[in-house]
Amino acid sequence: MADNNKKPLLEIRNLKTYFYTEDGVVKAVDGVDLEVYPGEVLGLVGESGCGKSVTSLAIMRLISKPGKIVDGEIIFDGRDLVKLGEPELMKIRGNRISMIFQQPQSALNPVFRVADQIGEVLEVHQSLGKRAGDARAIELLKLVGMPDAESRAKSFPHELSGGQAQRVMIAMGLACVPDMLIADEPTTALDVTIQAQILNLIRDMREKFGSSVILITHDLGVIAEMAERVAVMYAGEIVEQADVIPLFQKPIHPYTKGLIGSIPVLGRVRDQLDVIPGSVPNLVNLPPGCRFAPRCQARKEYNLSICTEKRPALHDFEPGHKVRCWLYQDDEQHVAPLKAKKTAKEKK
């Protein structure tokens, strides 16, 4: 559980990343606020296309044309990454913040041996020579639990299985002992059994190196298992943010409720899983009010008109539990419990 008195390692303030396409401006990330504390695992959940990956790429400052960070601050260890130049960023990438990708097989360069690729990171950041790099690479491979590390170090990426390739990626990510590891759907492309191994490995490595982890996934099961704090993203904004247990036990945003309701539970047979009707809004033409309003059942139930008119703000529902929803907030953006609204509605 996050200690809120601690100073955050990474602080994202009002981050806006837009993509200027021919069809219009795609607001992939539109006003995200997020903190990551040293040593914690923050889960970032959401459907495909909600802006999770773009957020992570923005942290790495790897947004390329036609995308652009339009507004906001990404303060990492006292420095605003948005304002840093390329040479400084290169010193941070892979050294202080590193990233693990979804498709481990294609994230490795097919023409180089595993040891060379791990050595590359060390060569870039620590000017380590070939021989020292190879030795360290084997050490790292052993650390990430690669079976038969010495001979695997000499393998080419196509000779590795998905799980092994992901271990190599993790070894590369951890080569310089970064302060933060961004894992962008690290297990999506892997078998379920391998998934568990990789998640365990990430957890072990976090304990060993003390790095913070931002775990990006659409899999709530992974979040429940790994994360200490969770941020739920929807259409480019964070709709709910809380510690993992309160979030799963008592989700308050209708979208989070829908997400949790749509997980199949082992041993509980239902005719139909709960689904959230509709689909993610077009990020070019966003609804003027709450972005979830067109799909929101609760809105219809309580017959709230403000939802389609005004965008709600992210506010504290309870200490450490933030939500972006009109159901828990009145027009002046004060906390207004659901019960009050319900009684008001009944009086009418």
Binding site: F101, S106, N109, P110, V124, H125
Partner: protein, 332 residues
Amino acid sequence: MSANMKVAELTGEEITIQERTPFQIVMMRFRKHRLAMAALVVITLIFMLTLFAPYLANFEVTEISVGDYFLPFGAVDEDTGRVHYLGTDNIGRDYFSRLIFAGRVSLTVALISVLISETTGVIIGAISGYYGGALDNVLMRFVEFMLTIPSLPLLLIISSMLLANEDLIPIPAIVLNTFGKIMLLNPRDTRSAVLIIMVLAGFGWLGSAQLMRGMVLQIKQQTFVEAARSLGASNTWIIFKHMIPNAMAPIIVSASLGLAGYVVAEAALAFLGFGIQDPVPTWGNMLSATQTFMMDKPWLPLVPGLPIFICSLSFNYIGDGLRDALDPRLKM
């Protein structure tokens, strides 16, 4: 029960299958291509002949046997007892000796031209494709503009201009010395050979630049490039460590096909009288020298013509073989 135990006791090492490196796989596939293997043998033979030319040739390149004009194959020099394996030419020079020394010049010109043009093409193509935008536009429009110009007339004009004015382009002495040693020429003749290389390579890089740019545009989209950036690699690092090695397969193929082109191009220039001049022998100017008596003595043009033909054919077959061997879609 004991049989089961044995399976369980197998160590990882015993059941590991011997894995081949990509190089071994390519070599294995290349060996299956019979024509390419035959071509490789032929080319190796020709290379050996030219490499050991100083030991194999029994006459000096410029040695004239007065009176012994147009001697037939295998004629014996009366004074010294040396054999003219391939006879003599119109002024009594030994044809075989000239042929192998000519090969040395012709092949060196072709090899160095390929080396320079492919390197230039690869670097310019990679930069153009990687950075894109305005730079890409300028570079590629320039390449396309150059490609629209018919190259042979331009080559002729430029080479005649360069060869006529010795001081137009100064070439450092170290370059002249090195190339002079390779081709066994004096500095003055080396200079014209180096100029021919520059002219050939100057037009030769255009195609490989386009090829490389196309490859880079493809590779740029791949995750490992983004992964490399996320690990702190700079643009230069990515171009040299990730783009170029991944684009090597088609570049190697185009280089081997390019070799054939340069052997022919050098011969064409020489044949038209704008290449390296007599008395330095090249296959092209030996061919050119036989123009006036081609009809009476048809073997004279055939002797230098055949190696040009064989070399260009062999380089093409090797290129084909390499293309098949390096193409990952043809998994064997």
